[in-house]
């Protein structure tokens, strides 16, 4: 997935939405900016399949040598699939955060949550601000 095609939450998660029959399926992950800030990842906890989330709910946690951080669901819906190989191959997060580093797939229950997300340009501006 190309970063330019994605939408982003302020908390640095990305979303890619796909229409599958009657379902809108969102693939979510953590942005390159956030992964780079973390460095030295040692642990990732995936959400459970079946978990119902609201936008902004904690989806899981990622731990580096230095600290542990929660990551949040950028959309509302139900977790239908998780990237179960990722916790044992954390380098994927750094090497391919928008592809092999995907974290979970969520069946959207509420499209309106997408409206509050940023596009790539707006997200880039946010990151530039945070860097100062």
């Amino acid at each position: 997935m190309k970063p330019e095609e994605l939408r982003y939450a302020k908390t640095h998660e990305w979303v890619y939405v796909l229409q599958e029959d009657d379902n809108r399926l969102a693939t979510v992950g953590i942005s390159a900016f956030a992964v780079e800030a973390l460095t030295d990842l040692v642990f990732l906890e995936l959400p459970e399949v079946g978990k119902q989330v609201q936008q902004g709910d904690t989806l899981g946690e990622v731990e580096s040598v230095k600290a542990v951080s929660d990551f949040y669901s950028p959309v509302a819906g139900e977790v239908v699939e998780v990237n179960s190989e990722l916790p044992n191959e954390l380098e994927r997060l750094g090497e391919d955060p928008y592809g092999q580093g995907w974290i979970a797939k969520i069946r959207l229950s509420d499209d309106s949550s997408l409206d509050t997300l940023m596009d790539h340009a707006a997200y880039g501006a946010l990151c530039a601000e945070e860097e100062i």
Binding site: T39, D40, V42, F43, E63, S64, V65, K66, V68, P87
Partner: protein, 371 residues
């Protein structure tokens, strides 16, 4: 109002070379330059360069200086030979720890002197403690040299290669915990075979104005050996693997050297110093929590403050935790009730609501290989 942080003479270099600057003990310090794991491994396999200028450097001169220090340190200073260094504690009247320090006995072109190197966060407290205990009319001159100097640590199996070209006498012959004064590169200062990583290495003290040039020389030589500059994050993983205490974690005003297992820093017989009587009592108290090392069975990292339990009963807490790059497992130090502090015991750590198994292991977690 934001607090202004102190800056070491190398601050500009760190900021210009990828150092992520954070506040530590009132100073702006690099927590890492690249990857913590890489900086750690470079120190264990080649050489790591550390700016430790934030640490307090207090110089004492005068005929009564030795007696004065001996009257405050848990460790004997009166018989510390010229050229030697000792690690000791300043204790409070209850036996708790004011700071853990290195005391140097050296001689430069101005004559013999003592130097106390203390933690950055405790520098002002230590100065006040020393000043408040200075005897009237004693021949002692105490000077805080922290802001006039820089301190650089060169640590790792290849540290000798980086230090030897800079000094006149071959440092290979120096015993651990000895130091010298003289020429270092294009300046003058002191170097000691000491460190906080569990590796061989030296700590150099030079005038602040000479620091940048010396640092750049060391970085160049270090890189040729496969080494790198190292920030505070890897400094912490290194010292934790070597089971070295960190003030504010394994030592504090309420945690004594006895509990921390630092009996070797205490010469209690026939000496008088603040906390001496309390430490003698604490030594004989079998109920006090003891410092232990723990290796976790899972992948989550134990952090400071997490509770430790044994068979559903709380027995202590974690004081320092990290992911050990050498063992490739999460490790921790903490204090637990003596009954639980048995090597081989499986305890439970409360990792943010999840109880995970951690085994009590002998300290240190890592020892450098002896060649």
């Amino acid at each position: 109002m934001t607090q202004t942080l102190a800056e070491t003479p190398l601050h500009g270099w760190h900021a210009a070379h990828g150092g992520r600057m954070v506040e530590f003990g009132g100073w702006s310090m690099p927590v890492q330059y690249s990857s913590i794991l890489q900086e750690h491994q470079a120190t264990r396999t080649a050489v790591g360069l550390f700016d430790i200028s934030h640490m307090g450097r207090l110089r004492l001169e005068g005929s009564a200086a030795a007696q004065f220090l001996d009257s405050l340190l848990t460790r004997k200073v009166l018989d510390l030979p010229l050229g030697s260094i000792c690690y000791g504690l300043l204790a409070n009247d209850e036996g708790g720890t004011i700071d853990d320090v290195l005391v140097y006995h050296l001689e430069d072109q101005c004559g013999p002197f003592y130097m106390v190197v203390c933690n950055a966060s405790n520098r002002e407290k230590v100065i006040r403690w020393l000043e408040n205990h200075l005897p009237d009319n004693a021949d002692i001159q105490l000077r805080d040299e922290t802001y006039d100097s820089a301190m650089i640590a060169v640590q790792g199996p290849l540290a000798l290669e980086a230090v030897a070209p800079l000094v006149d006498d071959d440092p290979a012959g120096m015993r651990y915990y000895t130091g010298r004064c003289g020429r270092i590169g294009n300046t003058f200062g002191q170097w000691s075979r000491t460190g906080y990583t569990g590796e061989d290495g030296w700590e150099l003290i030079v005038p602040a104005a000479a620091a940048a040039e010396l640092w750049e020389q060391l970085v160049l030589m270090g890189r040729q050996s496969g080494g790198t500059t190292v920030g505070l994050a890897a400094r912490d993983t290194l010292r934790l693997e070597a089971a070295m205490p960190l003030y504010g974690h394994e030592l504090s005003e309420s945690i004594s050297g006895v509990q921390a297992g630092l009996g070797f820093t205490m010469n209690l017989q026939d000496r008088s110093f603040p906390g001496r009587d309390a430490l003698l009592q604490l030594k004989n108290d079998n109920t006090l929590p003891r410092r232990v090392g723990l290796i976790c069975a899972g992948k989550r990292v134990p952090r400071e403050g997490y509770a430790i339990a044994s068979e559903s009963e709380r027995v202590g807490k974690v004081t320092s935790g990290t992911f050990s790059p050498t063992l490739e497992k999460p490790i921790a130090m903490g204090y637990v009730a003596p009954s639980a502090a048995v090597v081989g015991n499986d305890l439970m750590i409360d990792l943010r609501g999840r109880m995970e198994v951690a085994r009590v292991v002998p300290l240190p977690f890592y020892r450098k290989s002896v060649t």
